[in-house]
Symmetry: C2
């Protein structure tokens, strides 16, 4: 009997017809049964007459599989497989834990420390290997990446293969925003004819990430498009979603990011807000493994002006967590309270030197975003946008992956270690009532450790009146930039003032004295 470990990807392969349009004409489902539990899963066509159904089993023991199809040769096939205990490194998919945090399905702690390489799978093999190597050398455990190719500043090279049959009618070496306003007659692809080779390639990269312990935060739609994939219309949007979910949902490291900067797509007229909502519901409905789902904004959060456009209603039941773009980090505690879901600040300005404000942050600024967000109970995502010259052909991590040239990633690694080594399975935010420039403070789940981060502030004297009364703490001074830790010979409590070096980017690690 076949075997598949718990949270592994079980795959049933069948041969069937390759004539006509198998993506449209033929359907395939399989019902997976374990004792009293049973679930019906959509299959997909993988080209060359090959049909597949995949499933990530979560119950150990024997599973029975029975197919149904509108094609006789694919229908009423039965098989069985044995779901075995997961191997040591397999903790299952990441899910929401305790309302506002995450954990692997087996309960192991998971705090997303993400990075961004949108178009890395469309680069040369050598570059893709380089990307995986860079990831293996850093602590990032989530990667934001696109399923469709990308057309944008610094990313104008056409991909080798396309997700659909056809060819682009208009391409250009130089980037122009107007190219996104594609007319129907300029679309050269047949959205009913999916290219399995394209998706096989994407799938292999997702497996590579899983081997490194990196979650694939997969962006299903995005506006950086001059081919038409951003404006396929409801019918083909749904065909695509059903296809990609059938293909990928059995991989435990998948997160669905319905769209990047949906509000730019919305503006361009391709998809109104209601359309996103329906597509989000479809993703939730189609995915048998209940992966995380979110949607990512371009515009700032609404303020008292009240006219910021199209801020998504994150209370929608299909949305598992917030995936936001902002560096107004004082919103994080407010959103945690309001939405009662995890908050991931997936863009808070990348370290880099480009002409665009979201990509000219300093390494200090990028590091600062991680400390301020995470200690307030949210999560942050890194990106890097260094170029040598305008219209550079050099790889830029944010778009192409490759090599990191910056200085923030080391500090982010250091911060991750600091949390991991001090029992922060997640962070309980403290002292979040003040304005956003106040220090950011987080507590370990067992309350025994506290990290207080001062950012670019320079307090030489401090008093931690937010500490619980009657508790005393020893303190280590953390230089977050130089990544050093020094025991301080002081006892810190709720009332007494203490002295620090007058310096920027310091933090204190407090340990309760018992």
């Amino acid at each position: 009997m076949d075997k598949c470990e718990k949270w592994g990807s079980y795959e049933l392969t069948l041969n069937g017809p390759s004539d006509g349009n198998p993506f449209i004409d033929n359907n395939l489902f399989a019902t997976f049964t374990h004792d009293n539990f049973s679930i019906k899963i959509r299959g997909f066509y993988d080209g060359n007459g090959i049909y597949k159904v995949r499933y990530m089993p979560e119950l150990i023991g024997t599973w029975k599989v029975t197919t149904e199809s509108n094609v006789e040769v694919l229908s009423n096939k039965t098989t069985e497989f044995e779901c075995t205990s997961p191997s040591e490194d397999n903790h299952g998919p990441v899910r929401v834990s305790g309302k506002t945090h995450f954990a692997y399905a087996d309960g192991t702690s998971y705090m997303p420390f993400g990075t961004t390489a949108y178009a890395w799978v469309f680069q040369s093999n050598e570059r893709q290997k380089q990307t995986l190597k860079t990831l293996s050398e850093n602590k990032f455990n989530k990667l934001r990446m696109l399923t469709f190719p990308k057309n944008y500043n610094y990313n104008t090279i056409e991909p080798d293969i396309y997700p659909y049959e056809g060819a682009p009618k208009k391409v250009s070496d130089t980037f122009d925003f107007n190219s996104w306003s594609l007319k129907p007659e300029d679309i050269g692809f047949d959205f009913s004819k999916i290219n399995p080779t394209y998706f096989q390639h994407l799938e292999n990269r997702i497996k590579d990430l899983d081997n490194l312990g990196v979650e694939a935060d997969l962006i299903l739609f995005h506006p950086y498009d001059h081919w038409g994939f951003a404006r396929m219309g409801e019918k083909y949007d749904k065909l695509y979603l059903k296809y990609i979910i059938a293909r990928l949902a059995s991989y435990k490291n998948i997160w669905w990011s319905l769209a990047n900067e949906y509000d730019l797509l919305a503006m361009a007229g391709q998809k109104p807000l209601e359309a996103w909502d329906k597509l989000g519901e479809l993703v939730k409905e189609e995915d048998p493994s209940e992966h995380l789902i979110s949607i990512h904004n371009w515009y700032d959060p609404p303020t008292n002006k009240g006219t910021r456009k199209n801020w998504f209603d994150y209370t929608k039941p299909w949305i598992t967590h917030l995936s936001v773009q902002t560096d107004e980090l004082f919103f994080v505690p407010q959103w945690l309270e309001k939405y009662q879901k995890p908050v991931v600040v997936d863009e808070c300005r990348y370290e880099g030197n480009i002409e665009l404000g979201w990509g000219d942050n300093t390494a200090h600024g990028m590091m600062d975003c991680f400390y301020r967000t995470v200690l307030r109970g949210g999560y942050a995502t890194h990106g890097e946008t260094y170029i040598d010259k305008p219209n550079t052909k050099r790889s830029i991590w944010w778009a192409h992956g490759g090599i990191l040239y910056g200085q923030s990633q080391k500090r982010i690694n250091f911060f991750k270690d600091l949390l991991d080594n001090n029992g922060f399975n997640y962070v309980k935010p403290m002292a979040t009532e003040g304005p956003h420039w106040e220090l950011a403070v987080g507590q370990s789940p067992d309350d025994s450790k506290i990290i207080a981060y001062f950012g670019a502030n320079q307090p030489e004297f401090e008093q931690f009146d937010f500490l619980p009364k009657d508790k005393k703490y020893s303190a280590k001074l953390i230089d977050t930039w130089n990544m050093t830790t020094k025991d301080l010979n002081i006892e810190i409590n709720n009332t007494d003032m203490f002295q620090l070096p007058r310096s920027e980017y310091q933090a204190l690690l407090l340990t309760e004295k018992k």
Copy 2:
């Protein structure tokens, strides 16, 4: 005939009774008439049987003055004086100009570059002289200061004299927030008996500021009080306001700041929001010279959470401009648009090293606040909070005046000169649609010059797509921190990318090529 220059302070002095309570029992008004214009002004009792009426004439020529009073000896007195042309340095009071900016009454440009020394008039004579010397050595042209004494962290020494007859019942050398929650039985002052000596002293310091060309942004109420002046009740609040306005409104450099951190007072139950509104209307009604009036918050501006407390309705007709505390500077353009009044960010975190988040900003941060606010069309105010040790007795500029120990004031002076020397009588904000971390850009009134500030961002490559099409500019690189200016041999336009040093705190000064 007496003479008084235009925008000078004309004073009529009369002798009258000193028995009973002259502040309550006796009133005095004078009607000032110039041709067809006539205005009735309240007088005040200055102690020792001396009564005064003051007025700041704004029409050149002969004025007739006639008194009325419920005391016969003060009533029906008449006199005349000649209002002459103002002397060279006298530009009159500052008023709102062009909806969102300021100018002196004679049209001369005035951009408030403020600083803060709340309790400077309550310090030793030597310290007061030091404060005036420091002001004379810097470019600050507005000073935020209190009329009532101050009880707060680092400011616990009792003043030599009090504004009312009586003595405090409870004083302490150490500061405790609870001391503000004063019970009526612990108040040792008679609010019906004003101490003219106290106000004469205050008045002399305001004249000293005028001699230096510094506007006195006079805070009429504040919560830092353990004497009872913050909770006198409506009757004595009104008595006080009428008295201080009668006494001071003839000085051209007066601004009324109805309260500092009114929302802390409101919280403590002393004054609800509606009470402030009534008092604000009274100030406007009593002041014959229409000085600027505002009120200053403690709490952050409201955000989408919607529960921030007590944000004032700045549309109220008695409010001439916003006087806000925030470092969420992206609000500035929104407020300009919403309220159509000048926006002064009177607190955006002071340079210093104290334990309180609003007082541990770096010099870079303090400077940054000026560039970001002013180039977005608002105005900013400086403060400095450096201490040597906790509970220091050293003077702290923010509270006591004295000496500046910081590094931001030189950079702020440099910025003021940069604006003055390049025709920025005020700043027309440009490119304010983006998020708050985008570069801050302001244009001179005649459009010929533009300053673009990058703050802590590090763009090495830039493209100024917000520039008008078809215009070309020469550029100077400003190092705002090192206060240097360097001609760049480049031409900047709407479309072409250009290169800068990858460095923080840079700005560009563009000059249109004709």
